[in-house]
Amino acid sequence: MRDIAITLTVNGVVRRVTVPGRRLLSDCLRHDLGLTGTHVGCEHGVCGCCTVLFDGRPVRSCLMFAASADGHEVTTVEGLAEPDGTLSPVQRAFAECHGLQCGFCTPGFLCTVTALLRDNPAPGEEEVVEGLSGNLCRCTGYQNIVRAVHRAAEILAEER
């Protein structure tokens, strides 16, 4: 199988890596680049654990080949906080509202919600639930995640 040299920008840093053509973006991030915060829950695009921001859009990194990310920008959960370590409003809201338990699905939710609130800074209840409806969580029952999204919207508004 032919290896492919790719260059992608991950969390603001240009990374060069050589991958087999069939390597999934999720595996590349986790095992080639050491960014293990992106999790893999199903490998068939349903659970949303592997969601990352691809050129700013939430995508499932288990449904993409790493080679397809050549020349693109990826943000993972490791890139959501400020460079000084200050948690992003979405991260803070999840902690405040107990929006996570085991934490396995959390990175996918954080990326999804980050994009959701960027596109719609003050979503209504239905918009929040709909916005979360591509990510599975087995621990929280979603109630506190929904609350966290509203809280994050508040924090963002306060800090704008």
Partner: protein, 814 residues
């Protein structure tokens, strides 16, 4: 900074790392490790005639291929039967790799180790296994008919058979009491298969150090101490040479308490043979077909009652489908049998189960562990009685409740821990009052009528349960204060998202009087604490919580004793406030615990200024006494074990208002109310989170999730595309209220809370759908198409009407 943190909604200390990608789950460990993949049986029942690897051995990156024949003696034996029981007369467990016969789709046959998982799967695809298919046994009915056997030496496919009976106060057996009762009913109730389905599957990583012959294993497990003992036994290693760590675990919900999984012994074995780290990470399809399921049970109920609805006799016969193997014994049907009476005082009770083999994935506890079935049985029975008598469903329950003054209440049964089933505390009438108020039970008829005026169809349902939590035998905790003032806490049981690092730190801060910021907690790491049982049965807060509190007590006592010498005060006059020992009511003159820690450990060598205070020329200890007094030990640390006489019994009641679509039969939950009693709450935020998550799993089990096997034993929906786990769009908002009846059995007065949310949900939704539709619901889960079919096909005797006019009832005329 505060130290009175018990009972406060303290933010989780786990979250900063989990929110930033800093969690460390199994697949994050061991960069550069070889990876394993398995050839698994595509047949539900077959003889293995031959395994041909010739096409596979040239794959570049292949490291090793193993079959059953390659395994050393101990590994070649069947895996342990973890919980033997006298009634489990025909317990059977699998071999780590199949030997001669496979008994379910997904059973591991060949292990492949390669440079990475992609290559390992390439190799698996090239290995040819020649099978001779046998007729599979699928479903309870075919298992019972036993025309084919899952195990040739298990007649009738019956693994276990158990009867428990509690006679009435007047000495009647349940069957006699039913015959003598003014009213009696008889019916069947079924629950289908589902599964725990954590978002992180199982996984194992092993590193063998050939230099000092030690093995370090990480496993995504609910019991690292027991995995350690199993590995040491299976691989013939001295126990101290094996360490097992449960890292961050992405959910468990019961499935990860089973051990050792085949992979938990095979991966370490391969790492030793190859002298290289090996990791196996389960993929989603593997999790569906090769871990464990639960819930499938068929129940036949006979009940006799009086005109107030009081149960005079209850006779339940259960057929339990335990799949192909019984590694976890018969815990699930035992729990169903013993938790079935719930909050009720039954006249006489008889329960009988047969646990049957089928050619499907094995059955082991999944959150709730047999209780959802038990509650479905008991609560559907209560609803039946109410309909028959034309009484309000809550009135019938009230008539049967154990009263607050009757505790401790002995149900006369033997629980899953082999101990008598004695409820320690509770207040069921109060719980029901709170629930009725919370959901607006008495106002519902008006609400229903208004909705009906708009062409909408509403129903309300209820379900009550009692849950034995905190089963033994024991847990332990270790607490150490070091000379920097830090407090290090460890306990052997594991965490899968329950927030143990937070609640155990709260307990420690409260018991010791130290700021929580100085406390750190480690769970599930045998390097830190070797004695433990594991995390299951809603036991962590009860067991390790109390053990840590006891350990804190010892540390506190020692700190006060040491400080009393230095402060020249009586220990009884001392207190610890914000990490400083001082005379009660005299802030100012005090001794920080950091200093006490220094003084607790007489030193010869000074490595810093603090340590210098404990050296032999520092002049503190009396020259007339040995530096460490007889019976004493150096260091400011303590170990505590909590071993309860029996379980403590939490309880709760749920109610739901549902709407069913008159055309599409879609079922929507409009309101979901929970009253929960887990005694004292350590952290109400975390308890509520547990309830929310439990209810969500319950909703999945009631309306969406099931394991669909065809007659060949193929699991047709082994993916998240077809196994419908609820998203945010399907889970209702949960309204909660807490009742507190502290447990008298443990010092903290706590009861378990982990499983509670899931337990009554199927019963509640069935009750509500039945109320909305006027059609009896006696099997769950229920999908819109099933409800649609029920509407079209329900025979008159299934139709309950809206007014309680029942048609299938017998008036006992004898």
């Amino acid at each position: 900074m505060t130290t009175r943190l018990f009972g406060e909604p303290v933010r989780r200390r786990e979250d900063p790392r989990l929110l930033t990608g800093g969690g460390r789950y199994l697949d994050d460990i061991g960069k550069g490790a070889f990876e394993a993949a398995f050839v698994r049986s595509p047949h539900a029942h077959a003889v293995i005639r031959d395994i041909d690897v010739s096409a596979a051995i040239d794959v570049e990156g292949l490291v090793a291929i193993y079959t059953w024949e390659d395994l050393p003696a101990r590994l070649a034996e069947p895996l342990p039967l973890l919980i033997p029981h006298p009634a489990l007369t025909h317990g059977r467990t699998a071999h780590p790799l199949a030997r001669d016969v496979v008994r379910h789709v997904g059973e591991p046959v060949v292990m492949v180790v390669a440079r990475d998982r992609y290559l390992a799967e390439d190799v698996c695809a090239l290995i040819e296994v020649d099978y001779e298919p046998l007729t599979p046994v699928v479903g309870i009915e075919r298992a019972r008919r036993a025309e084919t056997l899952v195990h040739r030496d298990v007649p009738g496919n019956v693994g276990a058979h158990l009867v428990q009976e509690v006679r009435s106060a007047t000495g009647l057996g349940a069957r006699e009491a039913i015959e003598a009762a003014p009213y009696r009913l008889e019916f069947g109730l079924d629950i289908e298969r589902s599964a725990a389905t954590p978002l992180e599957g199982r996984g194992v990583h092993a590193r063998w150090d050939a230099g000092d012959r030690s093995l370090r294993v990480h496993s995504s497990t609910q019991t690292s101490t027991s995995v350690r003992m199993a590995i040491a036994a299976k691989l013939g290693l001295p126990l101290p040479q094996v360490e097992v760590v449960a890292p961050d675990v992405g959910g468990g919900f019961g499935v990860k308490i089973v051990h050792p999984w085949p992979e938990e012994v095979l991966v370490p074995w391969a790492a030793m043979l190859l002298g290289h780290e090996v990791r196996w990470t389960e993929d989603r399809r593997e999790h569906f077909v090769s871990s464990a399921h639960e819930r499938a049970q068929a129940h036949h109920v006979r009940v006799g009652f009086d005109d107030r609805g009081r149960v005079l006799g209850l006779d339940v016969t259960i057929l339990h489908d335990h799949g192909a193997y019984t590694p976890y014994g018969i815990i699930v049907p035992i729990i169903t049998s013993t938790q079935l009476p719930g909050p009720y005082r039954l006249g006489a009770y008889r329960v009988e189960f047969s646990s049957l083999y089928t050619n499907t994935v094995q059955v082991t506890p999944y959150r709730g562990a047999g209780r959802p079935q038990a509650v479905f049985c008991m609560e559907r029975t209560m609803d039946r009685i109410a309909r028959h008598l034309g009484l309000d469903r809550t009135a019938v329950r009230e008539a049967n409740f154990i009263q607050p003054e009757e505790f401790p209440y002995d149900q006369g049964l033997t629980f899953q821990d082999g101990r008598p089933l004695i409820y320690d505390s509770g207040d069921y009438p109060a719980s029901l009052r709170m629930l009725k108020e919370l959901v607006g039970w008495d106002d519902f008829p008006a609400l229903r009528e208004r909705a009906a005026g708009q062409g909408r169809r509403l129903g309300i349902g209820i379900g009550c349960y009692v849950e034995g939590t905190g089963v033994g035998p024991y847990e332990g905790g270790h607490v150490q204060i070091t000379s920097d003032g830090r407090v290090h806490v460890s306990t052997g049981l594991t965490s899968q998202g329950q927030g143990h690092e937070t609640v155990f730190a709260q307990i420690t801060a409260s018991e010791l009087g130290v700021p929580i910021e100085r406390v750190s907690v480690v769970t599930g790491d045998t390097r830190r604490f070797g004695y433990a049982v594991g995390t299951f049965a809603s036991r962590a807060a009860v067991m390790s919580g109390n053990a840590i509190a006891l350990a804190c007590g010892k540390v506190r006592e020692k700190a006060l004793r040491i400080a009393s010498d230095a402060l020249e005060a009586d220990p009884g006059d001392l207190e610890i406030v914000d990490g400083v020992v001082r005379v009660v009511g005299s802030p100012g003159a005090g001794l920080p615990l950091a200093t006490v820690a220094v003084l607790s450990n007489p030193l010869r060598y000074a490595f810093d200024a603090e340590a210098g205070r404990a050296t032999q020329f520092a002049g503190t200890p009396s020259p007339d006494r040995p530096p460490v007094a007889e019976g004493d030990e150096p260091g400011l640390e303590g170990r505590g074990y909590y071993s309860p006489i029996r379980s403590t019994f939490a309880s709760g009641m749920h109610a739901a208002i549902v709407e069913t679509d008159p055309l599409t039969a879609e079922i929507r939950i409009l309101r979901y109310a929970v009253v929960h009693d887990c005694g004292n709450l350590i952290n109400p935020m975390i308890v509520e989170g547990q309830i929310h998550g439990g209810v969500a799993q319950g909703v999945g089990g009631a309306l969406y999730e099931r394991m669909v096997y065809d007659e060949h034993g193929q699991l047709l929906n082994a993916s998240f595309m077809d196994f419908l786990m609820p998203y945010a769009t399907e889970v209702p908002h949960v309204e909660t209220a807490h009742l507190r009846t502290p447990s008298p059995l443990n010092p903290l007065g706590v009861k378990g809370a982990g499983e509670a949310g899931v337990i009554p949900v199927s019963a509640v939704i069935a009750s509500a759908v039945e109320d909305a539709e006027g059609i009896r619901i006696d099997r769950m889960p229920i999908s819109p198409s099933e409800l649609f079919d029920l509407r079209r096909s329900a025979s008159p005797d299934r139709r309950t009407g809206q007014t309680g006019s029942a048609t299938s009832l017998l008036r006992n005329t004898q």
